[in-house]
Subunit: 408 residues, 2 copies
Amino acid sequence: MKNNVIVGQSGGPTAVINCSLAGVFSTAVANPKMGKVLGMRNGVQGLLERRVIDMGEHLRRDIDVEVLKRTPSSFLGSCRYKLPNPEQNEDVFAKLFGILDELDVGYFFYIGGNDSMDTIMKLCAYGEKIGSNIRFIGVPKTIDNDLAVTDSSPGFGSAAKYVATTTKELILDAQVYNNGAVTIVEAMGRNTGWLAAAASLAKGTDSPGPDLIFLPEIAFNMDDFLDKVSVLAQSHSPTIVVSEGIKLADGRYISELGRDNVTSDAFGHIQLTGTAAYLAAQVRSKLGAKTRAIEFSIMQRCAAHIQSASDAAGAFAVGSHAVRAAADGETNRVIIINRLNSTPYAFETCAMEIVKMANIEKTVPLDWITSTKDYVTGDYIDYAKPLIQGEVAPFYVDGTPRHIRTAK
Amino acid sequence: MKNNVIVGQSGGPTAVINCSLAGVFSTAVANPKMGKVLGMRNGVQGLLERRVIDMGEHLRRDIDVEVLKRTPSSFLGSCRYKLPNPEQNEDVFAKLFGILDELDVGYFFYIGGNDSMDTIMKLCAYGEKIGSNIRFIGVPKTIDNDLAVTDSSPGFGSAAKYVATTTKELILDAQVYNNGAVTIVEAMGRNTGWLAAAASLAKGTDSPGPDLIFLPEIAFNMDDFLDKVSVLAQSHSPTIVVSEGIKLADGRYISELGRDNVTSDAFGHIQLTGTAAYLAAQVRSKLGAKTRAIEFSIMQRCAAHIQSASDAAGAFAVGSHAVRAAADGETNRVIIINRLNSTPYAFETCAMEIVKMANIEKTVPLDWITSTKDYVTGDYIDYAKPLIQGEVAPFYVDGTPRHIRTAK
């Protein structure tokens, strides 16, 4: 029987996506039924080009696995390749299964978001059709936290810890001058506000937290926003957090409004490509206030030096469970996180039919957003706070955290 | 004799400016010759409005001082107020000395950059003229590292550690897709490239480091830049780091090219941002490459969760030495850092005539920049690496670092 293992990573990286990879690797090498652990470079796209590495050659010692867990980005590289429907284009599937056959692969793991679960389902469907014995298991990840069924998406907790910590630091910095300046901070989240809402976790006995938080789940009202900012700026220097994906009631993204300006004035408004930058420009021109626009940009997904320990544990656990599930004969499954307790945080992992997750987007419940539409309620805080608990000590060497180099 | 102590913070915050404040406080309260330690809110501007706090009421327990050391931003608030020349306006000085007299102040400490040293000199000159016994000592800080005489400026090491660590994380993230995308990262540094150059510290056995680094010390050539980026993007996804203050040979800032309105602050400093965004737009339009522009923005000066231990120690030491120097009768001095050894890093602090630092700007030596004008040499690395060594464990409570709230 074919018993090699292959694993890939897809979509945007997270600060703990390599913890899931470490979970797959460590559990597979410990399983006597399993052979080599292969890694596909740049997901199924690389697999189609036979770009495959032997993970064991990169992870020779146990400390290598620990360094991998602390390394941001996707060790194997990533892709945004979407498999066609098997009915439309069988060739791609025939080629992929041919390569897997050559590589003696019996177990296939894919670490990714919604699209990756779709990939797993299609591979399963084709595999079943041709009578393949390969087991396919999905391992979830995304900083957006928009995956269905699972209590949280591995990757979210660390991004949330970065957002909470950095917002807390920025709020203090914003207060140094007594000048009513308005700080507008932009977090990722195209259609869901899970991550921007994590700024609320900055609030505590030592921080007032951000003044306002705007999520894409609720239509954004520019007049209401300017009114509120105007009042706040009279008493202090407010900090406002927005999701990149907030939009007006007519469906236009705020960030689109800024892009319109750029195309109409190529040199004049370079900075107005972002949501925060556009809002800051509005506050400046309409209210005459000093502003600064800050984007958490790529840092919120790659700041592995500030991983959440509970998130890192979850990410490792779903990778590890995926291997155990496949060894037990399961296929067409995704491993999810099931919360057992919030304080202290405790979770278990479960194998779930993948169709329940693929292509579904989980948004922030509307009753977790305040009636004023500019903050989240205690329900959100109770949900999210456990996910940022605990720290993973980076391995500092010569002043910076040690990483494992991306596989070539 | 008047024996109260007063301390203020001025200019932009750093991640360790409160370590210097802790150094002043701890050393002053331990000195039996000294009375209360007062803090001026928002620097001399707040002092003129009699906004003064008793530091001892905020720092009752020794752990409060440790939390203060780990708190970003300026605990006392800041100002950009520039004292007039005593010959032009004696009233302000008369008022200030009147307030200091009321407060029984015998020792005056000001934590800041070039402009703050200018403030100290003016106060000293006026004090001498009226026969005041108050001792004035400057405590240096700036993430820009542009202060003369001192081996490094407290605050620089922690900002450099942030830049090196984050650049290292971003480089890994940039490599996930195999698509020749160009990442352009912007660090602070108006006229000096010390901080942008710290991105070179990302380079090591586990990271290629950034591909190019451009500093304001050398005129920026757009054609040369585009040529180099074009070549790099053919083989991989390059990461390029620039100082916000890079300019063309004709003296125009790159950031100015993308703006209609250039605003300046009270000192006549132009507010510079948007350099990376402008260059990314050029790369996109001229080379057709995918790009992303990232600004380290305020995070590079407020990320106290990633303080450099050697920087934090230096910041505390200059604050502490300032108090000892004043107690010994010195005045019109600034405390500097004198490097004794690089590997392992060792330093001493010295009291120096303040005129040697005030209003002087130290730039990166031209022979520390490569002949290709797009990187720094080993001399820079040998200089800067000791300054990012060591970590200060944040006090995490409930998932985020604990801070002390800014004084009201």
